[in-house]
């Protein structure tokens, strides 16, 4: 087979071009730090990579929801403990009234006035807010609970609803305690809800009605244990949230690592390969130039 100059040039260029395209690909991997720059680099890995992206985005959303939920629950929890202390003080006042040692109207008035003050405190606690939303309002977060709990207006729609957050795929956790469940639900072992009980305590203390005050005390105790029960329930939900929080952050780390495995370039490997290709390229250039240059014509006299 004849070999001509144009054939040798073409062969040389073909090989140099192949070298160059290999080096260009490696250089791209070096500068981006990823082996996965185009879908065609590894089509199956791309599909995995994209689904990991979606998972990471969702997980971030869940972590955000969890932190919001924990804040709400912590605030609710501290408001509830304030409520407990206020109710305990009212309990003491009622006990004083029941014991009957202070029977004169002036003392009774004083007791009743203090009780009134305490009920005012309870009303304020019911109106605790986070930002512009009422903690105990259920989903009627813009209506102050004290207007229907210790007032006469009926509760608005949503006052007894749960405020749920999506904290994992398919898992919704309610983060609130409603004022209606605290104050407008008749507790077990009692005959009246806390709202009625508190109102009647103030009235009965003023009038000195012993019989009513005993019933009131019973109802108050039942109401207080209901409050404690609801507090415990909130506490268990808080525990769930915290567990989910750590689970989500672990999961997020795991998924991020997996993403790195799929798309990151092994720098040592790429650099070694690049050096090899570079040596080959330089050798090809040097020897090619020595082969391509001389012809017979340069040696004719």
């Amino acid at each position: 087979m004849r070999i001509t100059q144009s054939m040798m040039t073409q062969d040389f260029l073909y090989n140099i071009t192949n070298d160059n395209s290999r080096m260009a690909n490696l250089e791209n991997q070096l500068s981006t730090g990823k082996t996965l720059n185009e879908p065609s680099d590894n089509p199956l890995a791309v599909s995995q990579d994209m689904s990991i992206n979606a998972t990471l985005s969702e997980t971030t959303g869940y972590q955000n929801a969890i932190s919001q939920g924990l804040t709400w629950m912590n605030n609710t929890s501290s408001a509830l403990s304030n409520l407990n202390s206020a109710l305990q003080q009212i309990q003491e006042l009622t006990l004083n009234g029941v014991n009957g040692t202070n029977q004169d109207p002036a003392a009774l008035n004083a007791l009743s006035a203090t009780a009134q003050q305490m009920v005012g405190d309870v009303s304020q606690i019911m109106d605790s807010q986070q930002g512009t939303r009422y903690l105990f309002g259920g989903t009627a977060t813009q209506t102050a609970p004290s207007s229907y709990v210790l007032g006469s207006t009926p509760p608005p729609t949503g006052a007894s609803s749960n405020l749920s957050l999506l904290v994992a795929a398919g898992i919704e956790i309610p983060v609130n305690v409603t004022a209606t469940s605290l104050m407008l639900t008749i507790p077990t072992g009692g005959t009246a809800d806390l709202s009625q009980t508190l109102t009647s305590i103030v009235a009965d203390l003023k009038s000195g009605n012993q019989g009513n005050l005993s019933t009131d005390l019973q109802n108050l105790n039942a109401g207080m244990s209901q409050v404690t029960g609801l507090e415990a329930d909130l506490g268990s939900r808080e525990v769930r949230m915290n567990a989910l929080n750590s689970q989500m952050s672990q999961y997020s780390n795991l998924v991020t690592n997996e993403k790195g495995v799929i798309e990151d370039a092994n720098m040592a490997q790429v650099i070694t390969q690049f050096n090899t290709d570079q040596t080959v390229y330089q050798a090809a250039l040097k020897l090619g130039s020595q082969v391509l240059l001389p012809t017979l014509v340069s040696y004719l006299p």
Partner: protein, 483 residues
Amino acid sequence: MNISTFYGLNVGVSALETAQQVEDVISNNIANANTPGYAQETPTLEEYTPFPTVPAHDAPILNGQMGQGSQVSSVHRDTSAFLDMQDRVNQGTYQMYSTHQQNLTQIEGILNEPSSQSMQNAMDQFFASWQTLSTDPSNTAARQSVIAQAQQMGQTFQTITNELETLQSNLTNVVTGQIGQLNTDANQVYQLNTQIVRVLQQGQQPNQLMDQRSQILDQMAQMANISYTQQSNGADYITLAGSTLVDGSNSYLAGTTTPYTSPPAASYTAQTAYTFASTLKSGSIAGNVQSVNDANTMLNNLDTFLNTFENAVNAIQTSGSTATSSAASPPPPIFSVPSSDTFASTDPVNGSNHLILTVNPSLTTSEIATGGATWGGPGDNSNALNMVALQNQQQSSLQGATFDQNIASLVSGIGVETASVNTSVTTAQALSQQSCTLRQAVSSVDVNEQAAMMVQYQNSYSAAAKFVSVFDQMMQTLMTIVP
């Protein structure tokens, strides 16, 4: 009767002329060593007919016939028709894959995945904004963010759709231009055929015309899978995908039996040219047509995705509630439907309208339906939770995939195709390189060979010149004998 005194001189002159003509051929070869389409020319040397040719009564008495010198009987091109045809087929295949690869790379660039700025990210941000809204449904900033993310998503997809449509219509134009080029080339081949046939009839070798024709055939083969046959009179007849391009009487517009005119007949529209182009099996035209089909498929898949998405989102939105909505006047949809562009009118050859995701322009922040079927107060986030859950729901219109999975499968589909075309390009390139080498082994100019021949014929020329000079001296000697 004797032979002429100057017989030897004439033989010597023929030697000089032969050597000179061969040197002319060599210089032509060297001058055209790098001309594309040029095939090395080789002179054929022959002896003159000997003297005397036939016995006759007045022939001189000689012992045997005497040679009359040499001549260059013809100069022909060194080609192998088989290798030429093989090389053209391989070049066509390589051009097809290479063109397809370039266009697919562009499509990959338009999709711009996997990255954090493209389609999937826009959609994930949309759902993330709903998740944020669900933690505080009455927050105006969160509501505004939902509208903004919906607009961002619409914009991202619209950019991609527009760029794919631009690519599609550009490639369509390129294809119709290439068919036009093919028609012009076919006409040139027809003209050259006529001239070549005429020269061959006169007994000459039209080397330059045949080089030109070979070059044009190379160009045509790179564009389409032409097949050609050489006729006995020297003309090349070309057919393409069942329709004749060049025959003995005319050259035709591709895909029709209409003779070629410039400009082409009014009935030969861009649509006609493109329809014919879609039947080709090789060459860069076929590569472009396949790329147009790929872009079109991707656009249709995006349409299906966007249609399913906006219907699903709107369904959830309108089944929820706001502070002011009721069963009689449900909340307005988030996306306006229908909402397509006008691509079909800008690209009449190949275009069809595609979906643009448009956010309802009259949608206000208070009309975002966060509440459930019955309004539960400003803190009611049940519909927002439904919207967030939509991200993981399997959609029956997408063959049971979720939205994220659908986008991932679109992207990896293009990735698979590009990877396979990349492999084909490498193989086709190696094949075309090999067949080109074989063809050049026969047809291209080896400067060393020409230089050696040059020296050889230079020596022959010197020898012949020396002989003429010696003969002249012999004549001189003869003259001096006569006082």
